[in-house]
C-alpha cells in the first residue's frame, strides 16, 4: 500500500510538468470566473454558489476530467513503460489506486482554487458555510466518479484520443441522456433511469443536503469502476 503514495506522487508531478494540466486549469478557471462575476457576484443576486455548482460545474467536469485522466494508463501502454511498472514488485491494484489518487489530488488542487468564490461572497455578503461544505463534498464525490470512469477507459487503449472520447461519451449518457429519457418514462422504468442519472444524485449536494443514499451511490460506482480497471489491467496480461 505504501507504493500507492509513491505512484500517486509521480502522477501528480507529471501533471505539473505537462501542458495539458495548465490548459485544463486555465479553461476551468476562465469559464467559472466569468460565470461567477456575471451570474453570482452582482448586486441583488443570491449570495450562494448554487448558480455555479448546480449546473455549470458538473457540465464542465464532464469535459474536463476525461482530459485529465486520458493519459493515466494509455500513455504507459504507448511508451511501453507499463512493462517496467508491472514487472516491479507492485500489484495491479497499487497501480490503479496510485493513478486514481494522483488524478484525484490534482482535481482537488483545481477545486481548491474555486475557494476564492465563497470567500469573496463572505466579504461582500454572507455565505451559508453548511451549504458550501455540502457543495464541495458533492463536487469531490462527482469528480472521483468521473476520474474512475476516465481511468477505466484509459486502461483499454494506448490511444489517448480514444480514451478521452469513450469516457466523455459514457459521462454524457449518465449526465444528459438519462435525464432526457427519464422524461418519457413513468413508474419503475423511470425510477431505474433516474438512478443512472448522475445529476439526480448530485443535485441534493448543491442544494445543501448531504443525503446518505447519494454518498453511497457515488462511493460504490467509483469503487466499481476502479475494480473494473484493475480487472482490465489484469486481463491485458493474458492478451
Amino acid at each position: 500500500m505504501k507504493h500507492v503514495s509513491t505512484l500517486a506522487g509521480r502522477e501528480l508531478s507529471v501533471y505539473f510538468l505537462s501542458p495539458i494540466a495548465y490548459v485544463v486549469l486555465t479553461i476551468f478557471l476562465a469559464v467559472s470566473g466569468v460565470l461567477f462575476i456575471t451570474q453570482v457576484f452582482s448586486p441583488g443576486a443570491e449570495s450562494s454558489l448554487r448558480g455555479l455548482s448546480n449546473e455549470v460545474w458538473p457540465i464542465i467536469l464532464v469535459f474536463m476530467l476525461p482530459m485529465i485522466t486520458m493519459r493515466l494508463l494509455s500513455d504507459e501502454f504507448r511508451s511501453g513503460t507499463i512493462e517496467t511498472l508491472m514487472t516491479a514488485p507492485v500489484t495491479d491494484a497499487d497501480v490503479v489506486l496510485g493513478k486514481f489518487l494522483g488524478a484525484m489530488v490534482f482535481y482537488l488542487v483545481i477545486l481548491a482554487t474555486t475557494f476564492v468564490y465563497p470567500v469573496l461572497l463572505m466579504i461582500w455578503g454572507s455565505v451559508d458555510w453548511g451549504m458550501a461544505f455540502s457543495t464541495y463534498l458533492g463536487l469531490i464525490l462527482l469528480g472521483g466518479f468521473f476520474i474512475s470512469v476516465g481511468l477505466f477507459f484509459s486502461a483499454w487503449t494506448s490511444n489517448q484520443v480514444i480514451a478521452v472520447v469513450c469516457s466523455f461519451m459514457l459521462l454524457a449518457v449518465l449526465m444528459f441522456l438519462a435525464r432526457y429519457l427519464g422524461g418519457f418514462l413513468s413508474g419503475l422504468p423511470r425510477m431505474l433511469v433516474q438512478h443512472v442519472d448522475v445529476r439526480y444524485h448530485y443535485q441534493d449536494f448543491a442544494r445543501g443536503a448531504v443525503v446518505l443514499n447519494h454518498v453511497v451511490y457515488f462511493v460504490t460506482v467509483t469503487a466499481l469502476f476502479l475494480f473494473l480497471t484493475v480487472k482490465t489491467l489484469e486481463s491485458r496480461r493474458w492478451r
Binding site: S79, M86, A88
Partner: protein, 320 residues
C-alpha cells in the same frame, strides 16, 4: 536460479514459445540467442511475470513466476527491450521513484543510486530529463534501474540494440562485470556478442530451443562437420580413388595446382582421417605438403538458422 520447464505461450493461433526448457545456475551469464520473432522476448516476459505462460512452468530463485509473482519480481532486475522510461522525469528522480517501488529505505536508496550511476557512467547526466538523453544513454539508465535493488537475477532483453560499437563494448564488459554479483540472462540476435561473454548459450528459433550449451562445445557439436584440405603430389586419379576408399571418408574433390593435387575431403560425422591420409601417402611414396582440418563454426550454424535454411525439429538431447 532460473528453471524453465516445457514452457508454451500461444497468442490466439500463433505459438510464440513452443515447449522450452532450460536452467540457469547461480552466477552464470547465459545468452539467449535467436533471430527476431524467435520467442526470446516472450520467454523473458513470462520469466518477469509480465505474461503468464499458456502451459509449463518457470521459477526464479525458487519462486514460481505465476503464483509467487511479487517474490520473483523483488528478486529480478529487468531491462525490457528498447528500455522504456518516463521522458519527463530526471535520471535521479526516476531512479529514486524506482527505488521506492522496490521498497528501499531512502538512505539506502541514495547510496544505491550513487553506486549504480557511477557504474553505468551516468554521473554527468543525473539531473537531465530522460527525454533529452540519447538512445545509448537511456539504455544505461534502464540498466542502472535494473541493478538498483541489487537483484539476484538480471534479465536484459536486447541490451545492445541501438548502441554504437564503443557503447556495445562498454555494455558487454559491464554485463560481464555484473555477473560477479548477479546471475545474468540476456538476449541478443548477434552471436559474437554472446560468445564473447557468456558461459552458456541458448539458441532458439520459432519458439523452440535448437542448441544449448557452452559456446565452445556447442561450436564443435553443432558444426555440421569438418573438412580436410590435403595437397599431395602423385598420379591424380589414383590418389583420388585411394583417398576415397579410406575408412571414414565421405567424399573427395580434386583440383590440380602447379603439379600438386589439392583434395577437399569431407569426413563422415566427426571422424578424423588425417592419419590415414598421411599413412597412405608415405606408403605409396607420394609427396605430402599440406594437411589441414577446417571446422564449421557456430556462426555458420547460426547463420543457417537465421536465414531460415534449416528447420530443425524439437531440441531433445541433453545439453552439449
Amino acid at each position: 536460479m532460473i528453471r524453465v520447464r516445457n514452457l508454451v505461450k500461444r497468442f490466439g493461433l500463433v505459438t510464440a514459445v513452443d515447449g522450452i526448457s532450460f536452467d540457469v545456475e547461480k552466477g552464470q551469464v547465459v545468452g539467449f540467442l535467436g533471430p527476431n520473432g524467435a520467442g526470446k522476448t516472450t520467454t523473458i516476459r513470462i520469466l518477469t511475470g509480465y505474461h503468464p505462460a499458456t502451459e509449463g512452468s518457470a521459477s526464479v530463485a525458487g519462486f514460481d513466476v505465476l503464483t509467487q509473482s511479487l517474490e520473483v519480481r523483488r528478486r529480478i532486475g529487468y531491462l525490457p527491450e528498447s528500455a522504456p522510461l518516463y521522458p519527463e522525469m530526471r535520471v535521479r528522480e526516476y531512479l529514486r521513484f524506482r527505488s521506492k517501488l522496490h521498497g528501499m529505505p531512502s538512505a539506502e536508496a541514495a547510496k544505491a543510486i550513487d553506486g549504480v550511476v557511477g557504474r553505468c557512467w551516468l554521473s554527468e547526466f543525473v539531473n537531465r530529463p530522460i527525454g533529452q538523453l540519447s538512445k545509448g544513454m537511456r539504455q544505461r539508465v534502464g540498466l542502472a534501474d535494473a541493478i538498483l535493488h541489487d537483484p539476484d537475477v538480471l534479465i536484459l532483453d536486447e541490451p545492445t540494440v541501438g548502441l554504437d560499437p564503443t557503447q556495445i563494448r562498454e555494455s558487454l564488459s559491464l554485463i560481464r562485470e555484473l555477473s560477479e554479483r548477479h546471475t545474468v540472462l540476456f538476449s541478443s540476435h548477434i552471436l559474437p556478442q554472446v560468445e564473447q561473454i557468456c558461459d552458456e548459450v541458448i539458441i532458439i528459433n520459432r519458439g523452440r530451443i535448437v542448441a544449448y550449451g557452452a559456446p565452445k562445445r556447442l561450436g564443435e557439436e553443432k558444426a555440421a562437420g569438418s573438412r580436410l584440405i590435403a595437397e599431395i603430389r602423385g598420379p591424380g586419379a589414383e590418389i583420388e580413388r585411394a583417398v576415397g576408399a579410406l575408412a571414414g571418408v565421405e567424399s573427395v574433390e580434386r583440383q590440380t595446382h602447379d603439379g600438386w593435387e589439392r583434395l577437399t575431403i569431407r569426413a563422415r560425422g566427426r571422424d578424423d582421417v588425417r592419419e590415414g591420409i598421411y599413412k597412405l601417402a608415405s606408403q605409396k611414396g607420394w609427396g605430402l605438403r599440406e594437411i589441414r582440418r577446417e571446422l564449421d563454426s557456430l556462426e555458420d550454424y547460426y547463420l543457417k538458422i537465421t536465414s531460415g535454411a534449416m528447420d530443425e525439429g524439437r531440441f531433445s538431447g541433453a545439453r552439449a
